[in-house]
């Protein structure tokens, strides 16, 4: 089955507007969502990325430079990702639509080039 990547872009929700019960509800929904995917054999992996912006490494002519990436709070960076198996983009998109991350930001769905 083809692979797809869900890149979770965070918007600035982490200033803490959510009430404790709301946060717990989102976590519980994540559990149900991921559990459902795992049962259908669709979930390959899920990873949270660290909040620092990482490093950006570039070649500029002869030189290679590396700079700090933007800190997570500064703009909408990718906070985490899921790797899925799905029949096609339509199915991957359908999965993304139901992901609880939709309450917290937006999702970029990318297909992995088949080998």
């Amino acid at each position: 089955m083809p692979g797809f990547v869900l890149l979770l872009h965070d918007t600035s929700w982490h200033k803490g507007d959510l009430a404790p019960a709301e946060m717990q509800a989102i976590i519980a929904r994540y559990g149900a969502w991921a559990h459902g995917l795992a049962e259908r054999g669709m979930l390959r992996a899920g990873h949270k990325l660290t909040d620092d912006g990482g490093r950006h490494v570039r070649r500029d002519g002869e030189r290679v430079t590396a700079t700090d990436g933007p800190y997570a709070e500064a703009r909408e960076v990718v906070g985490g990702l899921f790797v899925l198996e799905a029949a096609d983009m339509a199915e991957a998109e359908a999965v993304a639509r139901t992901c609880p991350h939709m309450d917290l930001g937006w999702i970029e769905v990318r297909a992995i080039e088949p080998t």
């Binding site: 959510l18 404790p20 994540y30 949270k48």
Partner: protein, 418 residues
Amino acid sequence: MSVGDVAGLVEGLFRREAGRLTGALARRLGPGGLDLAEDCVQFAMVQALRLWPFDGVPEEPAAWLGRVARNRALDEVKRGGRDATAVPVEALAETLATPDAAPDPRFAGEIADDRLSLIFACCHPALARPSRVALTLKTVCGFGVREIARAFLSTEPTVAQRLVRAKRTLAEAEVGFEIPAPADLPARLGSVLEVVYLIFAEGHGATEGPDLVRPDLCAEAIGLVTLLLSNPVTATAEGHALAALMCLHAARLPARTDSVGEILTLEHQDRALWDRRLIARGFRHLEASASGDRLTPYHLQAAIAAAHAAAPDFERTDWEAVTGHYDALAAIDPSPVVMLNAAVAHAMLAGPAAGLARLAEAAEGLERHHLRHSVEGDLRLRAGDRAGAAGCFARALELAGSEPERRFLRGRIAAVQA
């Protein structure tokens, strides 16, 4: 732990832990530390929200949250970003480093005290009553600003402002987080019981808006009084009386609205739907409240509720006892609801004319109260005065605050005119 594993996430965990951890941190940070305590707890929960969906819920979620919150507090204090704490950094580091005591029953008393201390601070007399209620709901009960605004028909910015001002007032007054000294305890306890009662009353019969009943608010109120009663220092006969009245009233909630959400008065409730366990609990509290020499309004309200709970139906209620209690209550707490209920009770004991007479006596100050006209309408109807009844219901409809109540009154008007 893996993606999707949320087995450890029991109902209400975050909300409960929010209160518990805020209390624990505030107590260690000292006067002025409430803001920082809340922020650290919020930080921990946001971290959980960002990590647990990927890592799964840890085996001891409460301990995880506590650790993250405490470390955050330590970092913030060391950074010097908040100088609103009275305790020096080194001492703070030591107290904050104590491992979380959540699962160990030996520390149960300590944990309860953390929450109790927080309740007393939030109900401090320096704060306006609505602020005490909002602050208690937010910091002790873990409600969100949106939920509080909805419950008390305010707006989010108003509630948020109220909370900011309340915390500032507490900081400026250097209110500490401890159970008050014996000399101050009675007055401070009175304030706490009052806040608990206000929360319950709002949940039991939301005065305005689309919901008549908010069982979650009632449950919170009962939880708070239970906490008070769990500590011998703060457990009083009056507290038991309040617990009794809340349990007995809450027991009737399942029967209070019918299948389409319309109000059913006590007279028409299906008593088979009453929660028998809550009633039993209410009676236990009532027994425990029968000590000391103070007869408080809570005692009398509890006695009235007990009379209703013990009666197989409305007609066979011990109306003589009920009217006696209402008369005593009216003498010390002549609030509109008490006067109205007293009139109804007298009508049940001695006929509608007796009820109307009581109502006329108490008319002062009740003119703009919709229930007064609704009750008078019922009594007039019972006395055979249909025209008078219709007029009363119409007046009540003009004044009614909640949608269920308006629907109820329209129904009454239609029935009278039929």
